[in-house]
């Protein structure tokens, strides 16, 4: 591998936390393996560009496109493919949140693709990437002998060595502006977008407060939201209460919901079915609150409080 490029998704105003993390990840890979370091984004704002330059000396390439096409991964993959080919870039790192852009780019680049890795090493021209498989029950390391690779990475879990030395001074390289010169007609049209009024996205959250059957009634969920608000946390749910239609599927954590890895996962009234554990067992710390002292969740918890969540949570809120 000679050159690494990292894709940064535009967020208008400020750089998202996961974007900062991915820049640090690419700095660490570039530094450990002596690779040329590039960052690419589309319509990145002045503010985002200066934030990137505070933490990275990578060459920045800012793609200029019609803002209506910003969410079009087919278009972006065509442009980034051109950029990679023109600059002999052979390693691409993309956040696992952009899981459609990455395989499209891999196909066009004729590169191998692996999703959701949390570790990457290069030894003797071979790459070794590591990811969780089987819903988090096993960990697989792959050996890759391809000349080009595209990976999506899980920012919160990625193993970085020497983290303190990875924030780099900018080289003040001039930013390259790149405008595609080909015609593009999208095959998929976005008709409308409905936003849910959610403050914190569960996949990016540092803390998640999750509710299970132990809340007993839909109305008792208020106490979960209250604790989440107090902690600036996102709200999660077990399959049982999603299937009851008490909470939307977008909150479901587990095998048929989201796989999350926050710093702290608070499981409230969740017994700990294997399908739920599959979605949260990679959390850094787990606090379980459950009235059943034999609930399996306690075997997977760092901290546990045996008690009814309706009396325990108010005590927590009061003390916080």
């Amino acid at each position: 591998m000679k050159k690494i490029i990292t894709y940064i998704k535009n967020a208008d105003t400020q750089l998202k936390a996961y974007n900062k993390e991915i820049i640090i990840i690419s700095n660490s890979i570039a530094k450990a393996n002596n690779l040329g370091n590039y960052i690419v984004g589309a319509n990145l704002s002045e503010n985002e560009l200066s934030e990137i330059m505070k933490i990275s000396s990578a060459q920045i390439i800012n793609i200029k496109i019609n803002s209506e096409l910003l969410g079009d991964d087919v278009y972006l993959s065509l442009i980034i493919n051109e950029i990679c080919r023109k600059n002999d870039i052979d390693l691409v790192i993309i956040s696992s949140f952009q899981n459609e852009l990455a395989p499209r780019l891999a196909y066009k680049l004729n590169a191998e693709f692996i999703a959701n890795i949390f570790k990457l090493e290069i030894k003797n021209n071979k790459l070794y990437s590591t990811k969780s498989i089987m819903s988090g029950r096993a960990i697989q390391t792959d050996e890759i002998t391809s000349e080009k690779c595209v990976f999506t990475v899980l920012p919160k879990l990625f193993e970085i060595n020497d983290i303190n030395n990875l924030v780099e001074e900018s080289n003040n390289l001039p930013i390259i502006e790149y405008s595609p010169d080909f015609e593009y007609l999208p095959k998929v049209k976005v008709i409308s977008k409905e936003k849910e009024s959610k403050t914190t996205n569960i996949s990016e959250a540092n803390i998640i407060v999750s509710a299970g059957r132990g809340i007993k009634e839909e109305n008792n969920h208020e106490i979960i939201s209250e604790l989440a608000n107090k902690l600036g946390a996102a709200v999660g749910a077990s399959r049982a209460i999603v299937d009851n239609n008490w909470r939307p599927h977008s909150e479901q954590v587990g095998q048929t919901g989201k796989i999350v890895n926050p710093d702290l996962y608070i499981a409230c009234g969740i017994s700990g079915a294997i399908q739920h554990l599959a979605g949260m067992n990679n959390s850094k710390y787990i606090l379980a609150i459950n009235s059943d002292k034999d609930a399996p969740i306690f075997e997977y918890a760092d901290y546990g409080i045996v008690g009814d969540l309706n009396t325990v949570i108010p005590k927590i809120i009061e003390y916080l």
Partner: protein, 248 residues
Amino acid sequence: MNILVCLSRVPDTNSKLVISDDNKSINKSTKYVMNPYDEYALEEALQIRTKYGGIITAITVGNEVSEDILRSAYALGVEKAVIIKSENNLNSSFQVASAIALFAETQSFDLILCGNQSIDYSSESIPIFLSEILNVPALTSAMKIEINDSLVTVDKEINDGTIKMETSLPCIISVQKGINQPRYPKLPDIMKSKKKPISDFQAHIKNSKINAFELKINKKERIGKIVGDSKEEIIEIIELLKTEAKVL
């Protein structure tokens, strides 16, 4: 409407996961089931057929042992079932998608349905690779599908809401949990499914440059401090979260 539904066979979460002695693969004794997300894709195919007519072909990429999930698809009412086989090991999602695409190219499908992800490798990339290889649009994480003539509208679940998207047939759609309620097969249909023909399709796929190097069980060590619900004990836990775990 000619519908292709892609089914994946995955280790059953409820059975113990055993790693083979080579530390590279899963022990063959592991119990396998149809990928839960694919049950929604299959149900959606059945509902679309009811509304718009057509036939459904169910496929899986694998070998003889994969027959069981195709029998389940027969029991629910698909018209055809095919096992796509490859002489090479398929180590990447791109190879699996390439094998499906080779079969799809021999037919003229209007709609290819998949589950949003498989619970074994969870890369969510099969529909995207199919879209690239076959050069047809893909819509992912569908919570609702509507078809009017050749116009397809999909409500897609995103992290902070939903997007309504539109494209035209032929296309690929991956479906999210919650789009429907999968039905159960009836006993006579299960019996009949045992006699239905399952055909083979041989796909010639290039070897991947990805090879499994090491596989191990994920066992995270936990602190395991469990207390009662007195005020003092709760305060102790909150303090530990602040000072020991440093997450508050």
